[in-house]
């Protein structure tokens, strides 16, 4: 079946870390805040907020806030699935599914991100494809930096704007 090439992108980054650590960086609120978000809040179906070190579960809803931006720039979505080990899917950016797969390769850990179902209409195609892939490239690079060296590359200053690090 023919798939529109602009409806999906895949990014891979090699990280010198173990699979469990990389997986926790995506599947616990605290892990996400260590390289990606200013604040990540997950709630289960009963409305209980997950602890920072608690693994998120399928059906959880989330609210994400970014470093360098006020709370008006808030992203909301849902966890679609998690196998608790190396595969995790959540909605992001207009409810497009983002799937994270983590596996070993050449003695390192590969974090693979696939964002799919991107809108392919003329008006928004480039905005989603380019905007989202560009965003993930910085943040996956930051994930590598945080896990390998401890250096967090994100801009945290509200007054410093228009930089790729936020």
């Amino acid at each position: 079946m023919h798939t529109n090439p602009w409806s999906e992108f895949k990014l891979r980054v090699n990280i010198r870390t173990d699979i469990r650590k990389a997986f926790e960086c995506f599947t616990t609120p605290g892990g996400l805040e260590s390289w990606f978000l200013r604040q990540a809040t997950f709630e289960n179906a009963a409305g209980d907020v997950r602890r920072k070190d608690e693994p998120v579960q399928e059906g959880d809803t989330y609210v994400f806030y970014w470093h360098g931006y006020p709370d008006t720039a808030v992203e909301k979505g849902k966890v679609l699935s998690t196998n608790g080990e190396n595969r995790f899917t959540f909605t992001f950016s207009h409810n497009c599914p983002v799937t994270i797969s983590i596996y070993p390769e050449c003695g390192e850990t590969i974090v693979e991100l696939v964002e799919s179902n991107l809108p392919t209409d003329e008006a928004t195609m480039m905005r989603h494809y380019v905007g989202d892939s560009k965003g993930w490239i910085f943040y996956l690079t930051n994930l590598k930096s945080v896990l390998e060296t401890g250096y967090d590359l994100r801009n945290r200053k509200l007054e410093l704007t228009d930089v790729i690090t936020a």
Partner: protein, 300 residues
């Protein structure tokens, strides 16, 4: 990109046609010369200015616009506008035409209902909100952020801009749902009359909120609603559940409480700032509303 310039009226493509204002776009750019946009069917949008002044005509009713006011336009309304001054900066945000319906559904329906019936409902009718009001801090901050993001190379800038737009729209959808409930209290038969009366009363209420720290009279409030004072008094109470004066007193007392709790300003100064000449009158009203005198609240 969410940020665009207003269509150039002198461009050959636009010379003989109505400029098309695409939806899900923020038109925010300095207009160097006078700008005129002929009447056309509008998408749902919020219109304000960052600088200068302008005039909108919506369904044949004129509204003056400046940097402190904001005018929502309902989807399908007939809109024309002119920016007569040089160096005016508009901030006209038009929402994606499918988004209000989707957001309305997501706010009122459960996930299960949304999954069972994935097709969006018709977009809500925002005609009750089509009145001029003061731009609040939240809208001001959101528009500034959108302008910044529209020119930005930052990561996920388009996604963040979309989130800001969705957040803004959510607040207007909620405001619209409240307006529908409140307007139903008006004892009138014709829907068009109900809408018009509600818009006038809402404009007056927002004016009271913006001027509650000044000495304002019933005649002034009624003047904003373009009604005689007795008619205004009766209808205001019917819709908002309190007379305009009671509403004003409660607003002042709420603000006083907020200042007492969040500042070190002396209670006597707060009392004067809010237009009360007698501290004992103010304290009595405060105690009746909150069950505790203002001085004791600060001690707590």
């Amino acid at each position: 990109m969410i940020l665009q310039k207003l269509p150039d009226p002198n461009h050959p493509n636009n010379r003989d046609a109505v400029p098309v204002l695409h939806d899900h776009v923020l038109f925010a750019d300095r207009v160097i010369n006078r700008y005129e946009c002929p009447e056309h069917a509008s998408a749902f949008g919020l219109m304000t200015l960052q600088k200068g002044c302008g005039r909108l005509v919506i369904n044949q009713a004129p509204y003056d616009l400046d940097a402190v006011t904001c005018m929502p336009v309902n989807s399908g309304s007939r809109l024309s506008f002119s920016l007569p001054e040089k160096d005016t900066a508009p901030a006209f945000l038009f929402f994606d035409s499918a988004l209000p319906g989707a957001i309305h559904r997501s706010l009122v329906q459960s996930h299960a209902q949304l999954l069972d019936c994935p097709e969006p409902d018709q977009n809500p009718d925002f005609s009750l909100l089509e009145y001029r009001s003061n731009k609040d801090a939240d809208l001001e901050q959101s528009l500034r952020l959108l302008i910044r993001l529209g020119k930005s190379c930052s990561s996920f800038s388009a996604l963040k801009a979309d989130a800001v737009v969705r957040g803004l729209l959510e607040r207007w959808v909620v405001k619209n749902a409240d307006a529908l409930q409140l307007s139903a209290r008006l004892e009138v038969v014709k829907p068009a009359t109900r809408n018009e009366l509600f818009r006038r009363l809402s404009a007056a209420r927002e004016w009271i909120e913006a001027h509650c720290e000044a000495h304002i009279s019933l005649n002034q409030m009624a003047g904003v609603a373009a009604m005689n004072s007795q008619h205004f008094l009766r209808l205001f109470k019917q819709v908002f559940g309190a007379t305009p004066y009671r509403y004003l007193i409660d607003l002042r007392l709420d603000r006083a409480r907020e200042r007492i709790e969040n500042s070190d300003q002396p209670v006597s100064d707060i009392c004067k700032d809010l237009g009360y000449e007698s501290l004992s009158t103010f304290s009595g009203l405060f105690r009746r509303r909150f069950g505790i005198p203002p001085n004791q609240l600060r001690i707590l």
